[in-house]
Amino acid sequence: MSASLYSDQWHRVAHLAPRLRKHTSIHRHDYRGAPWYVLFDALTGQAHRFTPEAYQVIGRLDGSSSLQKIWDDVSYEIGDEMPTQDELIGLIAKLHHANVLAGYHDIDIDELSHRKRQGRLKKIKQVLRSPLGVKIPLVDPDAFVNATYPYVRPVLSIWGALIWITVVSFAVVLAATHWEALTDNLADRVLGLNNLLLMTLVYPVIKVIHELGHAWTTKDTGGEVHEIGVMFLVFFPVPYVDASAAAVCPDKKQRMLVGAAGILVELFIAALAMMVWVLAEPGLLRSIMFNIMVIAGISTLLFNGNPLLRFDAYYVLSDWLEIPNFGQRANQQLGFLIKRFLLNKRDTTSSADSSKESFWLVMYAIISFVYRMFLMVFIAIFVATSYFFVGVVLAIWSLYMALILPSLKILKEMVVGTQLEGAKIRAWCWLLGVVFAVAAGLLLMPFPHSSVIHGVVDSREPTNVRAGASGELRHWWVEDGETVEEGQLMADLYAPELTSEVARLEGQRREAEFRIQATVGNPQAIAIELENLSLIENRLADAQLRASGTRIVSPRSGQVNFDQGRLHLGQFIQRGQTVGTVTQDSDFRIRSLLLGHLQPQVVNDLQEVKLKLPGQNREFESTLLGISPSATREIPSITLTRQGGGQVALDPEQTEELRAYRQHYTLDVNAQPLIDAEVAVALDSRVYIKLVHTPSPIGYRLWDNIRRNFLSLFER
């Protein structure tokens, strides 16, 4: 607003005549074609960036002219773009807080000590805010860097680049050719106990070289490095180096090189390690090389090489795009868009110069937020699974910092803040609208709810046709697939010993009858003989039964099935051996395994069951036959296992028989619809079963899932 050209507070500063302190220097940079000025404080190593308009002021701070005069001069000089008095005061305040101004009045001890206290408080707050990223400065590496720089200097040239490219590309080719050997069971090797030990030994060395890479390149830009230390990322010590002096360098390529130096150095080391790995015999050396490759290659690219995190790649990207404070500006731009277009506030300014820039900034803001959330949850869970208490505290803390605190801040801004003055109702409408929409979508709106499981076609017991006696197969009366009636003869067995036994026993019976007649006068002897007779008759009946077993008849009407093919004629068959099956259509059912947590839902709320065959779109309505009352690890068919293309994981410890890793309930579904529709189904073939439940809001289901998964993490 034009009225604020003059400031109410101007009288307090108009007479001051500050000057820049001697340890500061000003450098001109170009960002996206526009000139900027960087004020570098050699004492603290801090760099501050200013616009050319601000430079007009800063350049005039020589200790002889008062701010009033400076403002007048600057206003005359730059005309339309003249700073308001408030802006000028803000600029001077910023410089004052950066400790680069001097010479305007007596030193105010109170103010100084107050500022120092605040600075200390800020550091403590910083630690509290991100307990997962505490920085501890250790040494000043300047002397070391100075001493070694001459030896490194030749590498920082076109020749160095050529060597780097040759070595790395050669290593990439090598890696491609040995891909199989490299990736074979990678996880086991990376996380094996021996390897963890090796890694902790190799890791610091590589990271120190990484940081030195930054230090040397910073030196190359003309800056100095005065702080190297350890940062505790999730309790894991990671070296860091303070390369802020590089920000002074006007050449963007050099600044990018400083940012990228660490990654380049590590990749180079990884490439060398690759070569050694290829040549070395299996043994300690080889596994050290492998570790070096993993740390220097993969982890570096994942962490340092990821611009979504505020590590090396972020700074390289920021330098490349010539947008300093990229992440911060991205968030600002998002805030601006929300304020300007959602809340319809006119008095906000965009921090992007073009719509394209705005687009990239906003994209970055959103993607990096999502990514950070993901990483945060991941780290919290990772820590929590190892150290339960610490992990839960950390998880709660990081959740608080990442989600709850910002929400509280937004809420505070909404309730008592001044920024939204005039648009508060709109802001509340939007906030409540979005919250309600999400809540309604999650908790009120019913969504179709179903789960799909795999099943196999199998058949009910007992339908086997068994041999009633042992004997030689003499004749088949039926063909495979023939329809038989109950009691119909299917096969004959030849068992001569059975006939002779019957004959023998019949002879014995006659003998026994005669004896009874012979001892008619002696009642005691008759009783003995009668007992003998009944024994023989029993044996005879048994033998006759067995003899009749040589005629194999169908136990029921149905279709004859010879799964293993018809047995050969003349083959000897044991009593009780299965020779084939007789099946009816009604015997078919679909058997499936149901995970434990799904069981109550299926029992309590099952609307319909639908069947689908693989590769077909038709769905068949079916019904549930039943669920086993108890859970089991037995698997009815290999079709259901992962190995057989199904969903059930096998227990890795039990390789001989089919046992599931987790407990399942057995679920049977009627197969009649499939048969009625005259679809060709074979025993043991796969069928998809869709269990349809009452439509319910998605929120409860999500909550259940999250809770179950979270709790299962801590199951021991």
Binding site: Q9, W10, R12, M82, D108
Partner: protein, 653 residues
């Protein structure tokens, strides 16, 4: 401790004052929480009431003393206070003593409620006493006790007239107690002021106090702590003899809500005439007025919630203007775009936002600013940043030199620096939370000593102002014929004069009291209570105006007030109400509001048409109160922020 009044060194160099740090978020949260949840105020009131029998007990003993013995007792009591400081026993004994002195000197012994009020002040509470309960007398208790204990007291009144009157009225009490009492009014020299501030008790207005404080601060320049002040004194960099005040010890603020809240919205600026030119010479003023001649509200500029701003179109017109002059003169415009827009803005503010006879009036070829809060002319006050000059050109007055700011401070900031702060008012209930959050002073209502006999009449609504004035004239005539004194209050100067013109037909001999005619305020106020008198006044006749009724008027039913329109805050209306039925007298009030009242501007959109006129006006009033409260809160925050940011400047104001 029920009463605790710390004594600090009393001299200009040490200047004890509280160093107020910006509140942390915890402080703010605490203040907010305790503002909403606290013990009922009946509890501390009960505790104070328990002390009344003791005061009466001592009072009875003192009554029996001869004058000489009383003087001796006064001496002893003062010694005792100086020796042991302020504590419960001393306060009780001293209150009894002051009450006895008041009885002997003024024949007005303090009533129980006044004693309660006095103790509440000693506790640093924002004391609410109904209008007309005798706050002036109440203040003597706390002021004299503190002064006898060696703590200099500033009794802050609403205007110069009251400072003088109260100081003189209470002088016998203080003199008998051996205390030195002086007052500060606007046209005093620095020597007189220094003497006045050197007294044990000083009666003054808040504005005089603040400006004198700023003048002192100006002398201190970069010296911030007492230690530095002593050093500067030794180096002869600081001439302590020229300092006016002796630090901020104890302030008793009359009409505390008005001083601490209503007036806190405008910062007080100490300025001097600018010797060099501020880039705002006559030609530029004319140019800015010419440029904005054709500007229309809603098209080129707009006013939203009291803030004027140029629209995009307005800015375009300006830059075209600039380009055309550039083409003619073939050289760069002497003004940048920003400055040009600023100039246009100021010109528009002068033309459209500052309204004659409401914000200022013209007298003797001079622009005089009217105080929005009490309707008085503010002598020697001028608008900053060229507004004064623009108005002078617009009104054809004599042109004065522009002024530059030397120092500025808000009441919010200033009064918090007092070591001890207490306030009295008739209307604080509505703002007790804000008083607690901003100043950390608790609120304590003291019950009235007898039942109020005010009769509240009905609210009369009118379509336009003309019919309202006609009705008021008729009504006033009727009432005055009955023999009752009538007070008609209007919202601004214009209204009062319009009404006066109409009233002249019915009652030729009425009085008008407004910013333009405030020379004989005391006489008018004195006459206003006579039988059949009719007085038209702006809110000038609000706080602190004590209209004494004559006996005939009392018998006929007391003062009748016709309030024409609602003011900015319900509290001001309640103050107007408080002019009648004072101290047990009878009285009545009725309201006359119109569709044309300016307060309705506060309503936006659909609110303009919903509900009856009175309800709409009340709603508008509430909205305005809320807006002002927001404004104050924002100002306070901005204040903290800027003091943090400007830490480097070395100057406090």
């Amino acid at each position: 401790m029920l009463f605790a009044l710390q004594r600090y060194p009393v001299n200009g160099v040490d200047r004890p004052e509280k160093v107020v740090q910006p509140p942390s978020w915890l402080d703010q949260l605490w203040a907010w929480g305790t503002a909403h949840a606290h013990l009922p105020s009946a509890l501390p009131l009960f505790a104070l009431k328990m002390l009344l029998p003791f005061i009466h007990y001592y009072g009875k003993k003192l009554q029996r003393l001869s004058d000489a013995a009383l003087n001796q007792h006064i001496q002893d009591q003062r010694q005792q206070l100086l020796k042991t400081g302020v504590n419960v026993v001393n306060v009780v004994r001293n209150f009894a003593l002051i009450r006895e002195v008041a009885r002997r000197e003024l024949q007005m012994p303090h009533r129980d409620v006044q004693l309660l009020g006095g103790m509440s002040l000693m506790r640093g509470c924002m004391t609410e006493m109904q209008t007309g309960e005798g706050k002036t007398l109440t203040a003597t208790l706390a002021a004299a006790t503190a002064a006898m204990a060696g703590v200099p007291v500033h009794v802050v009144t609403v205007n110069d007239y009251l400072s003088k009157r109260d100081a003189e009225l209470m002088l016998p009490i203080y003199e008998r107690l051996g205390l030195n009492v002086r007052f500060v009014v606007h046209d005093m020299s620095s020597a007189e002021r220094r003497q006045a501030y050197g007294a044990d008790i000083t009666y003054c207005t808040s504005k005089e106090l603040v400006f004198d404080y700023l003048r002192d601060m100006k002398r201190f320049d970069n010296v911030r702590s007492p230690l530095q002040a002593h050093a500067a004194n030794l180096q002869r960099r600081l001439s302590t003899r020229l300092l006016l005040m002796r630090g901020l010890h104890f302030a008793i603020i009359d009409e505390a809500d008005s001083v601490l809240l209503d007036e806190a919205r405008t910062p007080l600026i100490l300025s001097a005439e600018d010797d060099g030119d501020d880039g705002l010479d006559l030609s530029l003023i004319h140019a800015s007025l010419r440029m904005t001649k054709d500007f229309k509200k809603g098209e080129h500029f707009d006013i939203e919630k009291g803030v004027l701003f140029l629209t995009v179109k307005g800015k375009e017109v300006l830059s075209n203007e600039m380009l055309s002059t550039q083409n003619i003169t073939r050289q760069r415009h002497p003004l940048g775009k920003a400055k040009l827009e600023w100039l246009a803005h100021q010109a528009l503010v002068a033309k459209h936002q500052i309204i004659k006879d409401r914000h200022y009036l013209v007298r003797d070829d001079k622009i005089l600013i009217i105080d929005e809060h009490n309707g008085r002319v503010l002598p020697d006050r001028r608008w900053a940043k060229g507004l004064q000059q623009l108005l002078e050109v617009l009104e054809g007055c004599k042109r004065t030199a522009p002024n530059v700011t030397l120092a500025q401070i808000t009441f919010q900031r200033f009064f918090r620096r007092y070591q001890h702060l207490a306030g009295m008012t008739g209307t604080a209930k509505e703002v007790k939370k804000e008083l607690w959050q901003t100043y950390g002073r608790p609120f304590l209502p003291v019950p009235p000593h007898q039942k109020n006999r005010r009769q509240k009449g009905r609210v009369h609504s009118f379509k336009d102002n003309q019919t309202r004035w006609q009705w008021i004239a008729k009504r006033a005539f009727e009432k005055s014929e009955e023999g009752r004194p009538v007070l008609i209050t209007t919202v601004n100067v214009n209204d009062s004069e319009e009404l006066s013109a109409i009233l002249a037909g019915h009652i030729p001999h009425h009085d008008v009291l407004n910013a333009r005619q405030d020379d004989n305020e005391a006489d008018v106020v004195m006459r206003a209570g006579n039988t059949g008198a009719v007085t038209i006044a702006t809110s000038i006749a609000g706080r602190g105006t004590d209209i004494k009724l004559d006996d005939a008027a009392k018998a006929l039913g007391g003062l009748h007030i016709i309030a024409a329109g609602l003011h900015d805050a319900g509290r001001i209306d309640r103050q107007i109400e408080g002019r009648c039925a004072r101290q047990g007298d009878p009285g009545s009030i009725e309201w006359a509001i119109s569709e044309e009242d300016a307060i309705l501007d506060e309503l936006q959109g659909w609110q303009q048409n919903i509900g009856g006129l009175y309800r709409r006006q009340k709603k508008a009033q509430r909205l305005r109160e809320k807006r002002h409260a927001h404004q104050r809160a924002r100002m306070l925050r901005a204040d903290w922020k800027s003091s943090e940011r400007l830490g480097f400047s070395g100057r406090l104001e």
